[in-house]
């Protein structure tokens, strides 16, 4: 193969982050001109790190990058853009208060009299590119008002207007509905026909099969090889990605739900931009059951959890744990009622990175008699219990004094989970409990969750991972647009097609059907 057919060549890339994590170890990654190249791997396999280096957001510790046959040093995104590389981030980098056109020309605004921004010209540019690449957007709409799918198009247009010939798409479909995904794929194929090269980061097998030409698989910071998409089976990809055939089915007995633990009635919440995020939500979680909440992200799940743990106040409504109000109560009071929370944002709420594992394990119970002798800590007890938890939850670490910030994502989550699960909770709120962590930790946490519910805890599981909610939940709510779109008493016969229709708002159960989630009263 002649070298010049590659537009991007990354050779022997190693990246060590300041916290000691070697995210890439001697990775080779080559992209041919005009192809859609998938970069696959589990969360934490090093895909994002590799792409950040290609886009100049990070610099490799070792290795070389060649773009269009020329060795380059990508010290910043500005340099990367000048080499024709564009990136569409998973979390959009747009200014919500500006219009689509303003966002697209941001930093390279057309000028009137060399002084003022020429807004009309900006709209023209936007329309011209939108037409040329068949990416329909509304130039005058404020970004905060447009749907996710359009935001993504704005991101792609932004890159194209800046002259990108190589587009990096970081999990572009993660936030999209099925229809939006289909539309995106058509647009990407259209771009490919016009000679653009794309790197497509994803771990959704069917998407990869559908749209890409070749794929590179990463695992544990290393490249597991390059394959023609057509020549490799889904099973083979899966095996290379996770290293073993993981079947994440959790064995669980039939739930025997009894009394209502968490009762939520008529909860309403309007966010700071006057958008109604939660609309008359009522449901019950019973002792001994796992109630799952599924839904495309951004349909009110996060706001719901925030309110149940007083990180936010609702407009109105009732939420009680065993008959005691929890809305607006201090976190101390809520925890004393037996509520545990695995927060979605574990880095902000779940842990103190510069503190030791042990210190992270006692944060909610440091005032308990068990751990204090008069004014002093009972260090012996604290050490004992910490060691026990580290062992029971299989936290991979040097010892209990290691700083939590030095652990890997999965092990950080194990520390969070160890603390929350060992608090003898009557209600566990698990918000995306396994997001972004490795398979082993995921399996472990899921098993524990089932175990605790069978021992009598009530579990409210919020997850964007369809597999997870379907596997774990005894009964299931689907949220759409701040409301309960559907309630399924039993998840056994549920298929993802059916769920998809409710999640995307194509279907909605009748109020009577939804009301079944209220047990009594």
């Amino acid at each position: 193969m002649a070298d010049n057919e590659y537009v991007v060549q990354m050779k022997g890339i190693t990246k060590v982050y300041p916290n000691g994590i070697a995210a890439n170890q001697g990775v080779d990654f080559n992209v041919k001109k005009g192809e859609i190249h998938a970069l696959m791997g589990e969360n934490g396999a090093g895909k994002s790190t590799l792409m950040k280096m290609l886009f100049g957001l990070e610099q490799p510790t070792e290795g070389t990058i060649t773009v269009n046959g020329e060795e380059v040093s990508l010290t910043s995104p500005t340099v990367a853009i000048s080499k024709g590389i564009g990136m569409v981030h998973q979390h959009f980098m747009l200014v919500p208060n500006l219009t689509v056109a303003e966002n697209i020309v941001l930093g390279m605004e057309p000028k009137k009299n060399n002084l003022f921004m020429d807004y009309k010209k900006a709209v023209e540019i936007t329309e011209e590119y939108a037409k040329k690449y068949n990416l329909q957007v509304d130039p005058d709409a404020k970004v905060r008002d447009i749907p996710v799918g359009m935001k993504q198009k704005v991101e792609i247009l932004k890159a194209l207007v800046r002259g990108a010939k190589i587009l990096i798409l970081d999990e572009p479909t993660a936030v999209l509905t099925t229809q939006e995904t289909e539309e995106l794929f058509k647009e990407l194929i259209h771009l490919k026909e016009q000679g653009y090269t794309m790197v497509f980061i994803s771990h959704k097998l069917h998407e990869i099969k559908q749209i890409t030409d070749r794929l590179t698989i990463m695992r544990g910071g290393k490249s597991m090889g390059v394959y023609n998409t057509a020549d490799i089976s889904k099973e083979e990809i899966s095996r290379l990605m996770v290293g073993r055939d993981v079947i994440l089915t959790v064995e669980k007995e039939q739930a025997q739900p009894t009394d209502v633990v968490l009762r939520v009635r008529d909860l309403e919440y309007t966010n700071e931009w006057k958008k109604k995020m939660i609309n008359h939500m009522s449901f019950d979680v019973r002792k001994g059951e796992i109630l799952g909440i599924a839904g495309v992200e951004g349909n009110g799940q996060r706001e719901l959890v925030d309110m149940l743990f007083n990180l936010n106040m609702p407009d109105s409504g009732v939420a009680k744990v065993n008959g005691h109000n929890i809305l607006g109560e201090s976190q101390r009071k809520i925890r004393d009622l037996g509520v545990s929370l695995i927060p979605e944002d574990r880095m902000t709420f779940g842990m103190a990175g510069a503190a030791s594992i042990e210190e992270n394990l006692i944060s909610d119970r440091c005032a308990q008699k068990r751990y204090n002798n008069g004014p002093l800590f009972n260090m012996k007890k604290i050490h004992e219990d910490s060691d026990k938890l580290i062992e029971e939850y299989k936290v991979l670490c040097k010892n209990r004094t290691q700083k939590v910030g030095m652990l890997s994502g999965g092990n950080i989550q194990k520390v969070v989970v160890a603390r929350e699960f060992s608090a003898e909770p009557v209600l566990i709120i698990a918000d995306q409990p396994t997001r972004g962590i490795d398979v082993g930790a995921t399996e472990f946490i899921r098993k524990k969750l089932v175990e605790l519910s069978r021992e009598g805890a009530a579990v409210l599981l919020v997850s964007a991972d369809l597999n997870e909610v379907m596997e774990l939940s005894d009964s299931l709510i689907i949220m759409y647009n701040g409301q309960i779109a559907a309630y399924f008493e039993d998840t056994k016969d549920l298929t993802d097609t059916v769920m998809g229709e409710y999640m995307l708002g194509l279907k909605q159960q009748s109020p009577e059907e939804v009301r079944r989630v209220q047990h009594g009263e």
């Binding site: 300041p18 090889g225 004393d336 103190a352 990175g353 944060s363 440091c366």
Partner: protein, 369 residues
Amino acid sequence: MGNKRMMRFEILRGCAAIFIAIAVAFIFILICADDPLNALYCLLVRPVFNNGALNISSIYMILARMTPIIFTGLAVCVMFSANQFNLAGEGTVMAGGFVAGLVGIYVPLAAGLHPVVCILVGAAVGGALMLIPAWAKVKLNASEMVCSLMLNYVILYVVMHFLSNVFADRSQGSVQTYPYLETARVGKLIAGTELTWGFLVAIAATVLVAFFMFRTRWGYAIRMIGINESFSKYSGMKVGGIIVVSQVIGGVLSGMGGAIEVLGRYNAFLWKDLPGYGWTGITVAILAKNNPIAIPFAALFISYLNRGCELMSIYAGVPAEMIDIIQAVIFLFFAAEQFMAKTRQKMVVKEAKEELAKKTEPAAEGGNA
């Protein structure tokens, strides 16, 4: 990085900062001293050795002057641990000292009891004053840094008013109070030196604060809030209350330091300006990386340099303000997060590679389309 390696790096970094500071100082010494070598000798050696013998009186002086900055260093250490950038150490030292002095003049008590009561009153005054910025922070979300900084000047001028208009001893040539009752003085640890029992109290306070910070639930809460306030709140800690407590403890410690200093070193209250111990306390706490155990060592270092600068100004004609330059440079390099970041990164890479070498690795399979 492993904890031990981290520690080694921090020590290396600290030494580098100190070395650079002294190098910078030397440049200034070269500029303004007639005999730079003698000046350097005064700065570095003369505080402990003179003419081939131990400079005993100077050594006692160094120890004596550690006392107030140990207290303010501890105060800053507790407050900074809770991420509260409270700078009112300066004012609370003065207020604590002033009120303790008044008790020492006007409230006759038994010999053993008197200084204890004075010091406790000074501590209470310091603690009470710190309630102001702490309360404003928690209830009004006012920056404790701005509040406490301004508080220093309010305290200074209130004290000055009472000193010159109400409590002044008119028979004296300068503005000062009547002398303390003999019973109120903090006794000398060694006769004929500046060293008082206050030094031992400071060491005891260090041990107490260390225990408080690392072995009690309140100290733990203070540290966790300093690391991640959202996490502490989510964990069910009373964040507002702990923030207030941390600053009140800071006030108590610096008030105590002020009381011990005015009753140990002088026979009447005569400060007419902020004494500077609060600012030095910040340098001390930063040198000690907010670790109470390291505070006396940091205080010793600063006190040593102070004495060196003093000797330099006496014997080598270098202005005594040199200490401020040295302190400022140390401060700058300690506070600069990125100072020696490259060295750190190299150490991290080395360790990561060692770790990887230990692990068995998944072998890459064929596949080269």
